[in-house]
């Protein structure tokens, strides 16, 4: 279990404090798949960065029930591949020096195979399409065999077909390995298709929660999926969006 209590994050912009997150209390059960959904700029990415350890909260605390640090894998909005490394080296980027070379190669090959890029293991990032690069980034996160997998709108730049395939693939990986997944998206349909629960964010706060007890794989045209989608949308639309100063 990963618990966040009273998490807040403020930024100093000029003479003013801008609140990016406030009073965030959430618990992510081990092996759960949670989606965070909300408008752009509502604090989803900040929350994910805090979970990844890339930012420190201004207040509040994060606790793990087992007390040990989590192995974290992160997939960002952009692939963020090292342009000087080929696909295989990019995937194994975090493994070098940590696991024996043969094990690293084996795990890399398996992760690359999982995202369907075995034929491109020796390709350089400049030779890949946006979708392929993002799949490499997913493989790079998976190869760490993370306890906690954080994904920040990872499929936003993909075409509809690849996105759908990748969503199914992610669910399959989660069902097989059961890492705790936090998936950030601004697409309500995606939040319903993937999450066991969807947390709704607005202006830096968690403003709603939808439990989605539907079997996987989920179909976007399923009336139950639509029902959850409508409920989340209704709540998010009812909460007024923050007005920029």
């Amino acid at each position: 279990m990963l618990e966040l209590s009273g998490i807040g994050r403020r930024y100093r912009v000029g003479a003013e404090d801008v609140i990016a997150l406030a009073d965030v209390d959430i618990a992510f059960p081990s092996g759960s798949l949670t989606t965070l959904v909300g408008r752009s700029g509502c604090g989803k990415t900040t929350l994910l960065r805090i979970l990844a350890g890339l930012e420190q909260p201004s207040e509040g605390e994060i606790r793990r029930s087992d007390g040990r640090p989590a192995r974290i894998g992160v997939v960002f909005q952009e692939a963020r591949l090292m342009p000087w490394l080929d696909v295989s080296a990019n995937v194994g980027f975090g493994l070098r020096g940590r696991v024996p070379r043969a094990t690293a190669q084996e795990r890399c090959a398996a992760a690359i195979g999982l995202v369907g890029l075995s034929a491109f293991a020796a390709a350089m990032p400049a030779q890949l399409s946006g979708g392929m690069a993002q799949r490499v980034a997913i493989a790079r996160a998976l190869v760490q065999e993370p306890d906690l997998l954080l994904l920040d709108e990872p499929f936003a730049a993909l075409d509809a077909f690849t996105r759908r395939a990748m969503q199914n693939e992610l669910v399959a990986i989660w069902q097989r390995r059961r890492p705790t997944i936090v998936f950030v998206t601004h697409d309500v349909e995606e939040a319903v298709l993937l999450g066991e629960r969807a947390l709704e964010m607005q202006a830096g706060r968690i403003v709603g929660r939808e439990e989605i007890a539907l079997p996987y794989p989920r179909d976007p045209t399923d009336p139950d999926v639509n029902l959850h989608r409508r409920r989340i949308l209704a709540r998010l639309m009812a909460t007024p969006a923050p007005v920029p100063d």
Binding site: A52, G53, L54, I72, G73, V74, F76, E78, R80, M82, P83, W84, F93, G94, M124, R140, Q144
Partner: protein
């Protein structure tokens, strides 16, 4: 560019040169024919004079270039690491950057004399800024998002530096090194213009005083060829050690 096209462009230039001197469009004194220059070049090679001047110039360029790297790289790294130092000294360096090294020649002669130090000094001044700016710009422009990847992988500061920052900065550093090398060749003739007794620049100036335009042209050709060769060797070394920089190398044509 395909090798065939490159050779064709060189051949056309040579043909135009030959035509201009052969047809009398330009006086043979002002522009000696290619054959005359080739003949002079042969004589200079046979007498050992060209080799002597070339070795002196090569030594000056190599020394100036290496010393410029030795000064520019640590200073750029200091500027990258210390914001305060940068804020203090950057305006002064920007001021110095605007001054052509040749304009400092009279002062350098007074300070350093007319020996090797002054000549190497001119070359250092010429190639210092491209190298300095390349290194500083390279480290400044490292994408923070790539550093995030290292942080998530649990890298230490030194691992982030070696595995992300340095390779990210390398393209700009390479551009700076390549431009710097080009500038060092350009500065050579200027450095050897005054109070010199050897070197390709001296050979050219001496020939001009004797109205030997064939030697002037032979010297210019040799400097061009040596510059190209040095640039080619640098590119080859970079291509071997960092093949992903091939695209960036083309940006560094100064």
């Amino acid at each position: 560019m395909p090798r065939f096209t490159t050779i064709t462009v060189f051949a056309i230039t040579l043909a135009l040169w030959w035509l201009a001197s052969r047809s009398g469009w330009v006086s043979a004194f002002l522009l000696p024919a290619p054959a005359t220059v080739a003949e002079t070049l042969g004589e200079l090679i046979a007498s050992g004079e060209l080799l002597r001047h070339t070795l002196v110039s090569l030594r000056r360029v190599a020394l100036g270039y290496v010393l410029a790297i030795a000064f520019a790289v640590p200073l750029a790294l200091l500027f990258v690491l210390s914001r305060r130092l940068r804020d203090m000294f950057e305006p002064l360096l920007e001021f110095l950057r605007q001054i052509p090294p040749l304009a400092l020649m009279p002062l350098l002669m007074l300070w350093l004399g007319i020996g090797e130090t002054q000549k190497v000094g001119i070359i250092i001044l010429s190639c210092f800024f491209p190298i300095f700016l390349g290194v500083r710009g390279g480290f400044d422009s490292v994408d923070r998002k790539l550093i995030d990847v290292g942080t998530v992988c649990g890298f230490s500061r030194s691992q982030v530096m070696l595995r992300i920052v340095l390779p990210s900065a390398l393209p700009a550093i390479v551009v700076g090194l390549r431009i710097g090398l080009g500038y060092s060749w350009r500065a050579l003739v200027g450095a050897e213009l005054i109070a010199s007794s050897a070197g390709l620049g001296y050979m050219i100036v001496d020939a001009e005083n004797l109205a030997r335009t064939d030697i002037v042209l032979a010297g210019i050709l040799v400097i061009g060829v040596l510059g190209l060769l040095a640039d080619h060797l640098l590119r080859l070394a970079i291509r071997r050690s960092a093949p992903w920089l091939a695209g960036d190398l083309e940006m560094a044509r100064a």
